[in-house]
Each structure stands twice: as C-alpha cells, then as structure tokens.
Symmetry: C2
Subunit: 160 residues, 2 copies
Amino acid sequence: MTHEIDLNLKLWVVLSRTYHAVAAHAQADVARHGLTVAEFGILEALHHKGPMLLGEVQRKILVSSGGISYLVDRLESKGLVERRECPEDRRARYVALTPEGEALIRRIFPEHARRLAHALSGLDEDEKREAIRLLRALGKRAAELEADDAPRRAAGTSSP
Amino acid sequence: MTHEIDLNLKLWVVLSRTYHAVAAHAQADVARHGLTVAEFGILEALHHKGPMLLGEVQRKILVSSGGISYLVDRLESKGLVERRECPEDRRARYVALTPEGEALIRRIFPEHARRLAHALSGLDEDEKREAIRLLRALGKRAAELEADDAPRRAAGTSSP
DNA sequence: GCTGAAAATCTAAGTGATAAGATAACTACG
DNA sequence: CGTAGTTATCTTATCACTTAGATTTTCAGC
C-alpha cells in the first residue's frame, strides 16, 4: 500500500516542517533575552510550579540527564536559578528561581505568549483545539512505543 | 485573555512534544545505518528527484547554507553521494547519489516507512489527513511570518 | 564591457545539546 | 547488618549542526 506509506511520510514531513517553522519564532524571541528554548522552558516551569527536583524538570522539558545538569549550570551562572538541597533524599537537588529569575520570567513571558500567538495564527480557535487533540493522540502513542523499542532518554544504568 | 494564551501555549507544547516523540523513532531507525535524519532526508530527496543543486536540497531539508556543505561532505566521504559541476552556473554544484547511495536508500527506505507508520499509529487514516491539513495551515503561516521578523536561514549576504 | 550588488557554496570557529560512564545515596531483602 | 540493585545527579568527550564571513560567479544597469 504505497498509498498509506505516502500518507504517513507526508504527515511526518509536515509535522517536522511545522514544528521547525514555529520553533524558529519561539527561538528568535527567547534569544533576544540570551536564552534558549530549553532554558526558557525551565524558567517557565519553575515560575508555574515553584521549586522542582532536577529530575522532575528533566522529564518536563525532555532533555537528557546530562543536559539538565548543563542547563541548570548555565542558568545558575546567570543568576536566574539556584540549587537547593533536598533533605529527604540527599542524592537529589531542587532547582528554584532566584528573585532575578522570577523577575525575568515575569517580564518576558507576556511578550513571548503574544509572539507565539502570532506565530500560531494560521488556525482559528476551534482548529487549534482539534490540532491539540490530534497531536496529543499522535504523541501519546509515539511516546508509549518509544518506551519499548527506542533508546531511552534517562541515564545512570550500570550493569555488572 | 488568559484563556487564549493558554490555548496557544498548549498547542505549542503539544506540537513540540509530539514532534520530539516521533522524531525519536525516525532518529533511532536511521541511526541503525549510521545516518542522521538530515542525511537520510538528503538521500531520500535525491532518490526521489534525481540530482539536485545544493541550494535546492538546502531549502528542501531546512538546514543552513553551511550545514548543507557539511552534510554533503559527510555523505560524500561515506561514498553515498557525489558533487557534480553545474555548467549553467559555475558557482553552483549538483549533488547526486552514487550507486552505493542509491542501493542504500533503496534497501533501508521500506523499513523506515514501516517504522514511521508504526510511530504514527496513534491516528487513523482520516485523522491523519485532518492533522496534515491543520499542520499545513499552521506551518504555512508561521513560515510566512518568519520571512518578515525572524532571522533568515540562508547565507551569503555581504555588506561594504 | 564595467561596476556594484546579489547569489551559491565553502570554511572556521562556536554552541547547545547528547551519550556513556562515574559517583554517591537510597532501598529491599536475606 | 550488608550487599545487590536502583535512582539522581554530575563529568567528560563528542557531535550535529549554526553563524559569520570569505570566495567565486552571475547579473543588472549604465
């Protein structure tokens, strides 16, 4: 069934192109403040949820275990977040916004949302809802399958 | 209207997560053959369209001008593609599959399509069509806007 | 035909991540 | 308790690109 193969391939291509087109806007916006999309995601998550464990943030923004250390290092060196000890588990650490980080995310978030809305203006409100529904179903399945046969994104497995 | 902001933000987050979940499958598959997704994209484009100018391939797979040189270098050193002169424009060069490249893409493409179909099995056929339609509209608009206010992806602008 | 701007590719240096493995701490079970 | 296995983070090396700018060629207008 070449017919179905084409459909899948087309979906993958258009998903990829659309993601990159939108990501370019998000990226261009946060770059104005010297941030990457991943860094912005961390600040936003902390702003929204308060202090989180490194591992929680990692799963939230989907980076590798080394990646989250690296990103938090960078944000820490910019004075935007700080690490805190976790009394219940001394392996783990919290990340929390500093006052500077809190101020920054408060300041830049509204404009970011505005630009995002602009970048996403190709669909009306109902279409957005439908797109969210379809993308959710697609992503959910893909993520489930990943757990089975694709390389894991976490770390720290030691054998013998 | 926090209500609309949330919708846009949600769409962006789910687009990003879904893209990454699906991309992980594509990546895991081509990695088995020592290729990146971008390299596979080049081979596939050449297989489908025959020899292309570097710039055409660049626009097709959405990398920077430096990136396409780098990628073609790598594929060339693997013996999968070759550069050819362009008689009509001596600045430009064609990229073409070598017999080895042709053989490789023929060999791995069907399995790639099969795995992609598996990764995309969260939607039925009609939903895929609808998703393609929505993503097209979204991506088209985002790409148009990019041309106005976001950093360009091309190269070679020299000023005084 | 010149001349200056624009286009196609390439090169060099830099960057945001990833992967693999190390370290340290927790947990469960005999 | 002690030991094996698991979990959380960090470190080091590497990588797949990007950005900026250099080079060569084309083209438009004079």
